[in-house]
Every structure is written in C-alpha cells, then in structure tokens.
Amino acid sequence: MDVNVFLVIFGVTAMLGGIATVLQKHPINAGMSLVLTFLSIAGMYALLDAHFLAFIQIIVYVGAVMVLIIYTIMLMDIRDNDLVGKFSVVRGIGAVVALLLLAVLVAQIPTTTPHMATVPASFGTVAEFGKQLFGRYLIPFEVASILLLAAIVGALHLARPSEGGDL
C-alpha cells in the first residue's frame, strides 16, 4: 500500500517543518520551513482524497499567503532582536504549556480506529465540491466573497501612507 508510505513521509515532513518554523532565528528561514509544511500538508490532502483542497492549499497558502509574508519580510529591516536561544522563565512556561497541550490532544486520539469509509470515486473532486458550494453552501460562499472584499478594503486602507497623499 504505497499510499500509506507517502502519507507517513508527508506527515513526518510536515512535523519537521512545523518544528523548524518555530525554532528558526531569521524570519526568512522560518518562512521557508512553513512553505515546506504547507506543501507536505497539500500532499497529505491529495492522498486523503481531498484533491480540490490540495490545489487550493497550494494556490492560496503557498502561492499567495506565503509570498505576501516573504515579501513583507524582505521589505522590512530585520534586526537581531529575536534570539531564540535566550532562555527565560516566560519561554520555559510557554514550552511547558505547549507540551501539555500536545499531551492532552494526543491522549484524545482513539487507539482503535474504525475502518476508513469507502468513498465514491468522486469524493473531494472539483465537481463534487462545486455541487456543494453552489448548492447547499451557496450562502456561506457568497458571504466569504463579501469577507474578502472587506479584507481588501481594510488592507488597502491600512497600507496607505499616513501623512500627505491625495486623499
């Protein structure tokens, strides 16, 4: 079952990328690790019969969100003000809280999982997604487009120069 092997590989790569993102000193390295994580998650989506979501993950998350973040990192003057190696009590408490959260989440995972449901061949394809998005979930779809419009207007307003300008 080579589907399982690739799922394990992508899972391990996603975990390594996630751990690397929070431990890197320079934001660019963290951004590249996050790109690796997103690509691994897209691979996992494709193997879990979520083909449309895998495309959307790559186009939106890797292609738009990460590109924006990396452009912002390049435009800003990055100084050496975020040393990860400096240990302090607050960071220790943060690490303990995160580990506790991980323990609680992993404890909830059932050890005996039921069989994976047999899904039709059209599960998670673009056609099936389209039928749901334009059928039962039409209103959330339209509301999401209004949300994107609000986000565009908000981001434009925030990025305008403060003093001077035409308006």
Binding site: V22, L53, V65, A98, M116, A150, G154
Partner: protein, 98 residues
Amino acid sequence: MTGFLLTVSAVLFACGVFGVLVRRNMLILLMCIELMLNGANLALVIFARQWGNLEGQLLAFFVITVAAAEVGVGLGIILTLFRRRDSLDIDRFSRLRW
C-alpha cells in the same frame, strides 16, 4: 493510520501554540497562527475522509478563505505598527498595558 495523521495535526497545532507564546517577531507570530490553522484543517480533512462526509473538507475550504483574508489585513497592521515604532518586536508595543 488515522492515529498517526491525527498526531501530525496535534503536533502542528502545538508547534503553533509554542511559537505564539515564545517568539517575539511579529511576522513569525503570524506564521505560527497560520500553522495552527493548518493543523486544524488537517484534522478536518482526516475526519472527512474517515467518515466519508464532504462537509469537513468544505469547512476546511472556508477556513482557508478566512485565513487568507486575515493574513492580508494582519500584514497591513504589521506594516502600520512597523512604521510607527520602527521595530517588529511585540514587546515594544506595550502602551496598552496597565
């Protein structure tokens, strides 16, 4: 198989939480928030596949949409804050404290 995949989702989420609590750079904070969202999305897609229900993937689709909008506005906020104080360190922006 589901157990391992759900562990991956939990590890991603816990890494995001750790990053938000420990890191001080605002851009890395934003990246850790996206990491948390992706961990949750992965759990949604896993359960959608396990039970053969497409609604998990639909919810993940809307989460991706909202997260993209949030990153756009969040970067605008970070830019504005950087112009104000010329620093990306969130410990510098503590005027609203008691």
